[in-house]
Each structure stands twice: as structure tokens, then as C-alpha cells.
């Protein structure tokens, strides 16, 4: 039951974040690339004030899977690093996000070797 409730929360929060993006697409002429940047920055700034953590605690993957969760991770890493040293304050962000960036680069290159671009039918 607890797990079911969690999934409900994940679905609602994750869906709501995506709906917000769709609202931006519908009402402004913002392109996909910029939407990603805005959401990333929103997550980073919210976490800089310690707010995004509440969303993550509440909705788990519903908050970490959207790109704003990536921004959250970067800010969180930097804030934790700042407690220790200047060096870690600077590298903390990218260290925390290291797995995501590495995965994107490695899988990106790998799949580019395997797959080919196809024309769209519609």
C-alpha cells in the first residue's frame, strides 16, 4: 500500500512538472533546448535555497527523473562540497552529476556507432 501511494505521488509530481513544460511550449515559442535549460536552472536555484529537497523527499523519482532533478543534484553536490573545502565546493556539483553526464556521453557515442538516423514517416 505504501509503495502504491508512493507511485501515485511520483506520477502526480512528475506528470505535473512535465505539464508545466507543456504549458510553456503552448503559450510561448520556447524551444525544447531552452525548456531543458530553464527547468535545470529552476531545480538548481530551488535547491540552492534548500527547497527542492522537500519535493524529492515527497515524490522520489517524480522529482529526480525530470531535468530539474539534475539541477537539484548539481546544487546539492556543490553545497555539500562547500562544507568541506573550496576545492570540493567547485567540483562538488559535477561530481554529483558525473554519472548522468558520463552515461549520456558513453551511451550516446555507443549508440551512434550502432544505429542510423531514419526518416520520419509522419
Amino acid at each position: 500500500m505504501e509503495i502504491f501511494l508512493m507511485f501515485l505521488k511520483v506520477f502526480a509530481v512528475g506528470g505535473a512538472i512535465c505539464t508545466l513544460a507543456q504549458l510553456l511550449i503552448n503559450y510561448t515559442k520556447i524551444t525544447a533546448g531552452k525548456i531543458l535549460v530553464y527547468f535545470l536552472l529552476a531545480g538548481a536555484i530551488l535547491q540552492a535555497f534548500g527547497l527542492y529537497q522537500y519535493v524529492v523527499d515527497f515524490a522520489g523519482a517524480g522529482a529526480t527523473v525530470p531535468i530539474s532533478g539534475f539541477g537539484y543534484l548539481l546544487s546539492k553536490g556543490a553545497m555539500e562540497g562547500a562544507k568541506e573545502s573550496l576545492f570540493k565546493a567547485i567540483t562538488g556539483g559535477i561530481t554529483a552529476a558525473g554519472m548522468g553526464i558520463t552515461a549520456a556521453i558513453v551511451f550516446g557515442y555507443l549508440f551512434a556507432l550502432i544505429f542510423k538516423s531514419r526518416s520520419k514517416k509522419n
Binding site: I25, S117, R118, S119
Partner: protein, 327 residues
């Protein structure tokens, strides 16, 4: 005066058209000479595929005109890719003069205007005019990678994968009798997905100028054809011309709006330099030869933007050239 008459009325003596899978399955598929199920045309890249399409139609139109390459004095061609590589690279294979022209999707009637003038003046004997476009090569140059998951807004158009070419010379065939050279018109549309709205003012300007300078009315033509305004752009054009006192609603067609089956599903219809050339060479030329149409005004429309200009916030200038073709 931007309208002029060809004294000797040069003829279109041979045509050829090629279409990709989507076009071949479209409304005019049965008229397309070479239908392909493979939009790579057996080539490794989409740019090479487009080059092959244009090469094929140029080659075939010469054969269809019962000419050899020795009879051809010049090839006038263009396409949408940077530095018009499809046209240039297909001309590389022919032992003939080459003039590369670019007016975006209005390139076809631009080539016809120039080609007919060269033949009419007696400077050249036979000239091939051709244009091409390819959905996948245009998409990656102007928009996004093919596999990127983004939505197409409802006012967007679909670049035609196709090419068309025709041989202009003296002899049997539909005759080019007059032309109106278009003016670059920009009403400040910045939405790169709304090409129809960006090009319609230029088309209206050319049409209005044509009627004013020739003293003709729209019903002089069996049909007035625009290149790739799409459904929305066609509507805007009809409205704009109406405001100037001409009613084209009865005998007006748009190549882009008629090329695909169920155009609403393809949003506003087809676009691209290959759109008007493919549709004209496949369909309208046949209608002229069969005398189902006697006199048409073909007006390809182009949006003269580049991916850089739109990123720098420039609005989209439009252009349209009209050519009168009669049998």
C-alpha cells in the same frame, strides 16, 4: 515593370519527376514518373540521395525530350541545402553549362524565368531547369536531428522529398508566354514554423503586380498555382489578393496543399524547392499536354531565411516568381 513577355514562346519539351515514399503514396503519387519506396535512393547519406534525385530527373527529362546531353547548352538548377550542393553536384556529372540559382522554394520558377529568357533570346538552344528537396536533409539543416523527440506545431509544413526537371527549347510542348519577377517582401513574420504566413505577402505582391501589369483578371487562367504556401498560407494569400480587389478563390491551387493525402494530417501540407517542380512536372504538365488545362499561372514561393538569420532574430523575407504556361 516586372512582367515581360517571351516573344518566341519557348516550349517545355520534356519533363521528369521523382518522389519519395510519402509523396508517391500521396494524392498525386500516380502521376510521379519515378516513385521510390526508399528515401535514401540507395545512397549512404540523405544529401547524396537528394543529389541522386536531381541527377535522375535532369537525365530523364533530357531523354523524355528526345535529346542527348550534346543538345543541352545549360542546366539551371537549385535546391535548399547550403551552397546548393545538390544542384552543383548533380551538374558535375553532365557535360553542359551550369547556372546555380537560389530563391529557396521559389527556385523552380526562377530557373524557368531565366531559362526561358535565354532560349527566347536565341542565346541558348536547350536548357534544363530543375530543383530538388529532401525532407531529411532539410530537416537537419534547418531544424533538429530526425530522432529528436519534439512536437511539430500545427502551422508547420513537411518538406517534400522529390525533384522535378524540365527541358526548355523550341518544339512541341507547353509554351512559356510571360513571367513576373517577384520582389522580396517581408511583413515581419518571425515564426520559422509558419512559412505559409511568411511567404503569402510576397505571393500576393507578385500576383497583384502580374494582374496590374498585364491587365488580366484571375479568370484569364484555368488555374493559378502557388508553390508551397500550404493550407494556411493559401488562405492568407486568397484574403490578401481579395483585399486588392481580385478574387482567386475559384481557380486557385497550392502544390504543397495538394501533394499529400489528407493534408490536414500533415498539418499545412508540403513545402520545399522540390515541391512545385515535382508537382508541376508530374501533374500540371500532364494536364496541359492532355489539354485538360489550357493556361496556368505557376508561382513558386520561397522563404529566404537561413538557420543563422532566424537565430539572430531576423524576420523571414518571402519571394514569389510567376510564370504563365499555356498550350
Amino acid at each position: 515593370m516586372r512582367t515581360f513577355y517571351y516573344k518566341n514562346k519557348p516550349s517545355i519539351i520534356g519533363v521528369s519527376s521523382v518522389g519519395g515514399p510519402k509523396e508517391s503514396a500521396g494524392e498525386l503519387g500516380e502521376y510521379i514518373e519515378i516513385k521510390s519506396n526508399d528515401d535514401t535512393f540507395g545512397e549512404k547519406t540523405f544529401e547524396k540521395a537528394e543529389k541522386k534525385m536531381l541527377y535522375t530527373v535532369i537525365d530523364n527529362s533530357i531523354k523524355n525530350a528526345n535529346k542527348g546531353i550534346d543538345d543541352i547548352d545549360a542546366i539551371i538548377a537549385g535546391d535548399l541545402l547550403d551552397q546548393i550542393i545538390s544542384a552543383t553536384f548533380s551538374a558535375r556529372s553532365f557535360d553542359a553549362g551550369y547556372l546555380g540559382v537560389y530563391n529557396a522554394c521559389a527556385t523552380f520558377t526562377e530557373a524557368l524565368t531565366i531559362g526561358a529568357a535565354l532560349v527566347d533570346g536565341g542565346y541558348l538552344k536547350n536548357v534544363v531547369c530543375g530543383t530538388s528537396s529532401h525532407f531529411s536533409s532539410a530537416e537537419r539543416q534547418y531544424r533538429y536531428p530526425l530522432e529528436l523527440g519534439c512536437t511539430r506545431p500545427p502551422q508547420a509544413q513537411w518538406t517534400v522529398t522529390g525533384a522535378g526537371a524540365c527541358v526548355i527549347g523550341q518544339g512541341e510542348g507547353a509554351k512559356i508566354s510571360c513571367a513576373t519577377v517577384g520582389r522580396v517582401v517581408d511583413f515581419g513574420v518571425v515564426d520559422v514554423n509558419n512559412m505559409g504566413a511568411a511567404m503569402a505577402p510576397a505571393a500576393a505582391d507578385t500576383l497583384y503586380t502580374h494582374f496590374k501589369e498585364t491587365g488580366k483578371t484571375p479568370d484569364y487562367y484555368d488555374v493559378i498555382i502557388s508553390g508551397d504556401l500550404g493550407i494556411l498560407g493559401s488562405r492568407i494569400l486568397t484574403d490578401l489578393v481579395w483585399q486588392k480587389g481580385y478574387d482567386i478563390s475559384k481557380n486557385y491551387l497550392d502544390c504543397g496543399a495538394m501533394v499529400y493525402k489528407n493534408a490536414k494530417k500533415e498539418y499545412q501540407g508540403g513545402s520545399g524547392a522540390g515541391c512545385s517542380s515535382m508537382v508541376f512536372c508530374a501533374y500540371f504538365y500532364k494536364m496541359l499536354r492532355e489539354k485538360k488545362l489550357k493556361r496556368i499561372l505557376l508561382m513558386s514561393t520561397g522563404a529566404l531565411l537561413s538557420s543563422l538569420s532566424s537565430q539572430q532574430g531576423e524576420s523571414i523575407p518571402g519571394i514569389a516568381h510567376a510564370v504563365c504556361i499555356e498550350i
